[in-house]
Symmetry: C2
Subunit: 427 residues, 2 copies
């Protein structure tokens, strides 16, 4: 179930900029470090503020102009071609609770080091790229403290309104605006104009490790239907209320959790993923039959027809559960997206860059959402994966080898160089 203690990056086995990258990654791992070897730095937390300040520092040291936009997206700008739009390369530093070190953080630091190398290269060679370069740390990709996820990139791409996002509160009633102000991350404006985007991330699945692939080139995302349900029963005494009189919201909710797994099992070859990650019981007292349960349930598939079939089965099951548990189940929120492709010219470019480096590569679909899932809807976007040992993710034992994260950095650097030089413009 776990791969034990995760080793720290070992820069001594590498040289030059690769060693510096690993050194910085070891430093980044100290922010919000947990006793279990992972990190906990949810969006807008003190640990998130500390790592953002540290990122600002290393960007400014290299001559990048650092700013925050109206919803806390952090940009490190290198404007070599005044007025030209930017290639945005980055990911997110925020984490889940008791999370691993790689999810998001690897992509931001790799973006910074790719940008550092290109800045030096262009300076030495006297090159003015066609597009400027921006390192990005998107705000609140995880959505654990403030919902929904991919918040910063959703505002940047026009999918969410900034004033709406700033008013969202966490479980303690603290708003996004207050959390951003408390971590000195609330800026203004809408950030730099984008021409292209790129992101690198760990796979969060085990297929690349299993197949011996170093570079995954993401060609599309899975479709997803994410629902919030309320299950309503009637509060009563657990001891004395006869079973026939009960309207047990937790029983109904539990039947829904079990049904979700049965739906996944109904489809062969893991074609449909289902889950319930969050569930809250009210009043949640030992001798009270629960009157209300809220839960978040999601269905995902790479095949939209299968997803639609899974969704039909789910809604049939809901009616059956309402009758069996004598509860009422209502949908109080939903967030659905189709299968959408990453631009084929970006996929081809990334494949060429991986091949030129002599690395194994293959096309892959992303099951998880990423900031690049938003970016690709407004500009051509390249999404790269590196393998994740045992596919472990959202877990302190998340691990990718130093060799793989360095190889990923190399390919990302090559991709970003090509994008900045306008090599994709003609295609």
């Amino acid at each position: 179930m776990s791969n034990g203690a995760v080793p720290q990056p070992d820069p001594s086995k590498f040289t030059g900029t690769d060693a510096l990258f690993l050194q910085d990654f070891a430093t980044l791992n100290t922010f919000g470090a947990t006793a279990g070897g992972g990190v906990e730095r949810q969006a807008g937390s003190p640990a998130d503020g500390e790592q953002r300040a540290w990122l600002s520092g290393i960007l400014r040291d290299k001559g990048f102009d650092v700013s925050f936009d109206q919803v806390g997206n952090q940009f490190g700008l290198l404007e070599l071609n005044p007025g030209a739009p930017y290639v945005l390369v980055g990911s997110h530093l925020d984490s889940q609770p008791t999370a691993g070190r790689y999810d998001g953080a690897y992509g931001v630091l790799a973006a910074a080091h790719a940008a550092f190398l290109l800045a030096e290269e262009w300076h030495a060679d006297g090159i003015i790229p066609r597009y400027n370069l921006a390192v990005v740390n998107w705000f609140n990709e995880e959505g654990s403290r403030f919902k929904p996820s991919m918040m910063g990139s959703s505002v940047y791409t026009g999918k969410a309104a900034p004033e709406h996002v700033l008013a969202i509160t966490d479980a303690a009633g603290i708003s996004v605006r207050e959390a951003l102000e408390a971590t000195a991350a609330l800026g203004e404006g809408t950030g730099p104009k984008a021409a292209y985007a790129a992101e690198i991330h760990i796979q969060q699945g085990r297929s690349m490790e299993r197949d011996g692939i170093t570079i995954g080139v993401v060609d599309s995302n899975w479709a997803a239907n994410k629902y919030q349900f309320e299950v309503r029963g009637e509060q009563s005494h657990t001891g004395s209320t006869i079973i026939a009189d009960r309207h047990d919201a937790l029983l109904g909710a539990s039947m829904l959790v079990v049904a979700a797994r049965e739906i996944a099992d109904h489809f062969p070859d893991g074609a449909v993923h289902t889950s319930v990650g969050q569930l809250d019981v009210s009043p949640n007292s030992p001798v009270v039959v629960p009157s209300l349960v809220t839960l978040l349930l999601d269905l995902r598939s790479a095949d939209e027809e299968l997803l639609a079939e899974a969704d039909r089965i789910l809604h049939d099951r809901i009616g059956q559960i309402e009758a069996a548990a004598r509860v009422e189940i209502s949908k109080t929120g939903s967030h659905c997206w189709p299968v959408t492709p990453y631009q084929p010219e970006g996929v081809a470019l990334a494949e060429k860059m991986a091949a030129d480096r002599g690395l194994t590569y293959s096309r892959i679909k992303t099951l998880a959402g990423h900031d690049s899932t938003n970016l690709k809807d407004v500009v051509p976007t390249v999404m790269l994966f590196v393998p994740s040992v045992e596919g472990i993710s959202h877990n302190e034992h998340e691990y990718t080898t130093d060799q793989d994260i360095v190889s990923g950095l190399h390919v990302l650097t090559d991709v970003v160089r090509s994008l900045c030089l306008g090599e994709l413009d003609a295609r």
Copy 2:
């Protein structure tokens, strides 16, 4: 599912001490009153402190000596026979969250008014009873804020250690000691010595209403096995982790909730009750497969053999669930009690008192635990029930008619008179 708005007591339809009792009950209903027509005054809360101060006031007005013991049990003592032990009559004022007005509170106020009437009667007639009389408000019967339930009566009857109880904390980390100090309810000593005990309570079931019975005479309690379980899985990403790699603690917990209901349904005629009232998910984030769920599950039956069979089925199911959901389930706490009788001489006394009043009555078993369940293990104890409309309990719509609570007060007064006069001593 509900009987709508619950009417307030209407003293204008009654006379004399009955009207005064209903008037006081209407006042008591204002402490911690909820918008839904119920009350919320969990143990040691500000609302609990207010109602305790009010109870002290009405007891002192009638010449009772009010004190708190070492764990916040509140006593109103009428010592007419110096040095003699006491008949303890009472129940509990604390409530569940969003609870009804009758559970516990009716029993305390009926005890006070029974005592007021007997005090006047003995004073007028110049009678010195064999035993002294104590009105009791037992601390934290409900166990919603501080676990376990029946806390005050457990310490009084020697089943729990006071220093252990005082150190127990609520979800916010506040200890029983701190809550008692904050509500001026932490006293000292072990309270008055008991000779007999009596309690009246609403039924929290619908059989008396269905059968047209006004007075239930409790002859035994149901046996119960109450367990705390931990379900352990492995934290991972809900989107990208393939189903075969998941160790979903919430799936395992949900299967356990469903299994509990299936076990109840397995036994005909409602002979076994099961429930899960409390369930907490960790880390409880939308896109994280839960790693840990804790839950409280209980099994109850009036038949110990059926309970043992239900328990065996439960433990068989746990092994099956562990394999099916690939989780580990461990028992981290348990609290079990057998079927135990109330003293037959007390049952006979209560039946005679009800018959003398011309009221319908029958023997009944209590499914819920009560403070009297503890008291009966140390002194002869009489437990009376009045009907509850639709059996609704632990709910704002809990309701018993004015006529029934007044009839219950009359029988309780008669029983306490007999106990104080020593009429049960010879039997």
